[in-house]
Subunit: 439 residues, 2 copies
C-alpha cells in the first residue's frame, strides 16, 4: 500500500539553481549556499514538503548530509534552522538575528524539512490531507528525500544522517526504518544513511509519559507528596484509563506549575501571553502540553516577511507561517520503541540518543528507562563528559553503535540553549567517537 | 553542667565604640554602622567568639536583630557577611567587591558569629577546645549572644531571629532551644527570640544523607541504574554499617561526578585547584564532602589583609583566617530533628525552612521528608511563589508558624546565588507572611 509510492518518484523538473536563495533579508554575507524549495509528493492530493538546504562551511563535497526534523507533531523544522542549529539564529530575549558560532553547517550539509505536509510553508493540498499519522509522515519524508536527491545528485555519495528532537523521536526511527527497508530492496539506489541523532525523543509513551513525567515533577520539587504518592500507589496513568481518583491528581499536576518553563524547568519563562492567561492544557496528547514560555515571535515575524517568503521561494498561495500546525495527527501509541530492535541490529548503524536533563516535557528518566529496557550490553559505563573544563553531561555507550548522553542543565531544546555542547556532541557523533570523559 | 554557665555572663568591660569599624578597606561609603569585636566565653580555657554586627539601613532602632550562622561544622560566618547577605560582597568570578543590592541589613540589624571558637578569627584558647560538639557550640553561642546584648543593650527590645544554612541546621535549632529554655527560666532577662530561618539544613541524617542523597543523584542523572538500584535493593547506608556490597557502590557514587559543582549541580565549577586534582573525599562525614568548585580566594585574601584585620579589631596573636577550621567536631548523629517538636509547639515561634533545589549536598528531598515526618497539618498547599513574574520556587505552610519554601534552580548557598529571591523570602519571613502565589 505504501511501498509502491516509493518507486514513482519523479525526476526533478527544475534545476536546484532556481531553489538557490540569493537575497535572504537580514543575514550577513556568507560563503556557503542556501537552497529553499518544494519537494512534491506524487499521487498525494497535492502534498509538497518545503525544504531548506544549507551547504557545509567546511567541505560540502564530502561532508555528510544531515536532515534535521523538529517535533510536535506538526511543528516546523524552521525552528531548527533559525532558532537552533542553523548559521543565523534569532535570540529569544531580544529578537535579533545573530551568526551562530555553533551552526551545524560548520561541518555538515544541513537539510531541513517542514514535515508533515501542511506544516509551516509545506503544502497540505487537499483538506483530506489534514488528517495524517506516523506512517504517512515517514512515507512522505522518504519520498521527499528521494526527490531531494534528484535535485542534488552530487550528494548521493556523502554519508546521510537524520537528526531532530522531541516528537521527531517518532519521525526519525520511522524514516530511518523506511530508508533501510527501501535500501534493502533497492541496493543500487540506496540512500547512504549512516545513523540517527535524536534528542529528548518521544519513543515509548508508557515510560516517557507514565512514570517519567510524574516522577520528574516530584523529584524536581514541582509536585509534593500529597499528589505523587497517591498517584504512584493508585498506579495512575496519563494515557490510559485508570482509577477515577487519578483525575484530580492529574489536574493538580498540570495546574501546579503553570509558571514554570515546561521545556526547561530552571529556565526563565518568557511568556507570549500575559502570565495570567498562561496555563498548560490538560489533554490526552499530554506531551504536547504547550507552555508558552519560549517565544518565537521574531522567527514568525521574519518568516512572514514578504521579502523572506520571496527569497525562500515560498508558494505564493499559502497563508501565514506559524510554528506549529493544527493537524489532525493520529499518533501510533506504540511510539517508536518497537522500531529500535531492528535499527540496533543493523550493522554499522549509528544511534545517538541525547537528553537535556532539565526538560519536563520528555524527561531524561523515561529515555533512560526505554534504553535500559532494550537490554543492551554497556560498553562505556555512565560517566561525565567534558567541554571547556566543565561537565557537559553524562555519557554511556552500549555495544559499538548505540550512544546515550545527557546535556547537563539543558531543557527540551538542548541545541538552542546549550549550542556549544550540542555542537560538540554532533561533531563526536559524526566521528562515531566516544565523548571525552576527562576535562 | 551547662546551665550554670549561663548565669555567669560578665558585664561588658568595654563600650561598643571600641568595636566600631571605621576604616574598612575597599568598601564604598555607607550610612549604617559596622561593629567587629570579641565575645568572651567565661571559664572556657580562653574561648572568644568573633562577631560582626551591621546595623540596619532602614530603622535600626526598631528593626529586628538577625543572627546569621554558616555551617561546616567549622566554617566561618564571614562567608555570610562577605559572600552572601552582607552589604558588600565578593564576586566569585572576578574577585571584586561590590555593593549588594539585596543585603539583609536593608531591613534588619545583621549579626554574624564566627562559631564555634577556633573558627575564622574566633579564639580557640587552649588546644583542648579544638574538640567540640553541638551542645558546646550551642552553649557558647548563647553565652556569646548574652554578652553581645551587654554591649548593645539598646537592641534588647528588638525582635531577634536566627538564620543560617547547611550545618547551621544543627546549630540553629540547638541555640534556639537553649534560648527558649533560658527564657523560660529567666523571664526578666529573656532574649526576644521570635523565630528561625534555616536553609538547606542538616537536620535528620537518616533522611538528609541516606535516601535523599543517592536519590537526588539518581533523579538528576548523576548516577545510573547500575549503581542506584543495587544501592536501594541492598538497603545501603552512607552512615551506618550495611552490606559489604554497598561500599563499591558508594565509592562509585562519590567518584562519578567529581567535576560537578557539588553545591549546585547545574552551576559552573570554578575549581580552586586544577580539575585533575579535583576529587571529592570519601569519608564518614559525608555531607562535609568538599567539592572545591566554589572559590573564596578573594574573601580569604581580603580578611587576611593586615588593614582589614586591624579595621575589624582582630586579635593580633591569631594566625591566618581560613574559610573552615579543622576542628575535632563531634556530631550528634541525631542531627537536630529531635529538637523540632518542642520548637513547633512553642507559641508564636516562627520557623521557616528553605531549600535551594539543585543542591546535592543537603538535597531538598531529605528536607521534605523530615518535614513530612513531623506530621503537621498543611494549611497552605504546595504552590508556586513568584518574584518579578517568574516562579521563584515552591511554598507550603503547616499550621500557622511553620513555613517551607524552595528556591528554584538554586544550590546550597541560595542566598549567594539567588540574592533577590533570598531577600524576598527573608522579608516575608520577618513579616510572618505567606510568599505570593501569583505573579
Amino acid at each position: 500500500m505504501l511501498w509502491p509510492l516509493l518507486l514513482t518518484v519523479q525526476v526533478a523538473l527544475s534545476a536546484p539553481a532556481t531553489h538557490l536563495v540569493t537575497n535572504l533579508p537580514g543575514v550577513p554575507s556568507y560563503s556557503f549556499q542556501i537552497y529553499s524549495g518544494y519537494l512534491p509528493i506524487p499521487n498525494s492530493n497535492g502534498r509538497e514538503l518545503h525544504y531548506v538546504f544549507i551547504t557545509s562551511q567546511n567541505k560540502p563535497a564530502s561532508d555528510p548530509v544531515v536532515l534535521w526534523l523538529n517535533g510536535g507533531p506538526g511543528c516546523s523544522s524552521m525552528e531548527g534552522a533559525f532558532m537552533e542549529n542553523g548559521p543565523f539564529v534569532f535570540s529569544e530575549t531580544n529578537n535579533t538575528m545573530f551568526t551562530n558560532p555553533y551552526s551545524w553547517n560548520r561541518i555538515a550539509n544541513m537539510l531541513y524539512f517542514e514535515s508533515p505536509a501542511g506544516v509551516g510553508y509545506s503544502v497540505m493540498g487537499s483538506i483530506i490531507n489534514n488528517s495524517t499519522n506516523d506512517t504517512q509522515t515517514a512515507s512522505d519524508n522518504l519520498i521527499a528525500l528521494q526527490y531531494w536527491y534528484t535535485l542534488f545528485p552530487e550528494y548521493k555519495q556523502n554519508s546521510f544522517y537524520i537528526s531532530g528532537e522531541s516528537y521527531a523521536g517518532v519521525y526519525i526511527p520511522y524514516l530511518a526504518s523506511y530508508i533501510l527497508y527501501y535500501n534493502a530492496k533497492n541496493p543500487t539506489t540506496a540512500i547512504p544513511i549512516k545513523g540517527i541523532l535524536v534528542g529528548n525523543p518521544v519513543t515509548d509513551w508508557t515510560v516517557d509519559a507514565d512514570s517519567a513525567w510524574p516522577a520528574f515533577l516530584y523529584w524536581h520539587q514541582l509536585i509534593d507528596d500529597s499528589i505523587y504518592f497517591p498517584w504512584v500507589n493508585l498506579n495512575c496513568s496519563l494515557l490510559w484509563p485508570s482509577d477515577p481518583a487519578c483525575e484530580p491528581l492529574g489536574d493538580s499536576m498540570y495546574d501546579l506549575f503553570t509558571g514554570v518553563n515546561y521545556y526547561d524547568i530552571y529556565r526563565e519563562c518568557i511568556p507570549e501571553q500575559p502570565m495570567s492567561n498562561h496555563k498548560r492544557r490538560w489533554m490526552t496528547e499530554n506531551l504536547q502540553g504547550i507552555s508558552n514560555c519560549v517565544p518565537n515571535n521574531a522567527l514568525t515575524l521574519y518568516l512572514n516577511n514578504p521579502k523572506v517568503r520571496n527569497a525562500l521561494h515560498i508558494n505564493t498561495t499559502l497563508g501565514a507561517w506559524s510554528e506549529c500546525a493544527d493537524l489532525d495527527y493520529y499518533t501510533d501509541m506504540r511510539g517508536s520503541i518497537f522500531l529500535y530492535p531492528s535499527l540496533i541490529s543493523t550493522p554499522n548503524f549509528l544511534i545517538n540518543i541525547y537528553s537535556g536533563d532539565t526538560d519536563s516535557c520528555v524527561a531524561t528518566e523515561g529515555t533512560r528507562t526505554w534504553i535500559n529496557n532494550l537490554g543492551m550490553t554497556t560498553n562505556v559505563t555512565w560517566s561525565e563528559w567534558y567541554l571547556d573544563q566543565q561537565v557537559a553531561g553524562m555519557y554511556t555507550r552500549y555495544g559499538t553503535n548505540f550512544r546515550f548522553n545527557t546535556i547537563r542543565g539543558a531543557g527540551h531544546m538542548c541545541i538552542q540553549w546549550m549550542p556549544a555542547q550540542g555542537f560538540m556532541m554532533f561533531q563526536y557523533f559524526l566521528q562515531a567517537a566516544d565523548l571525552p570523559s576527562t576535562p
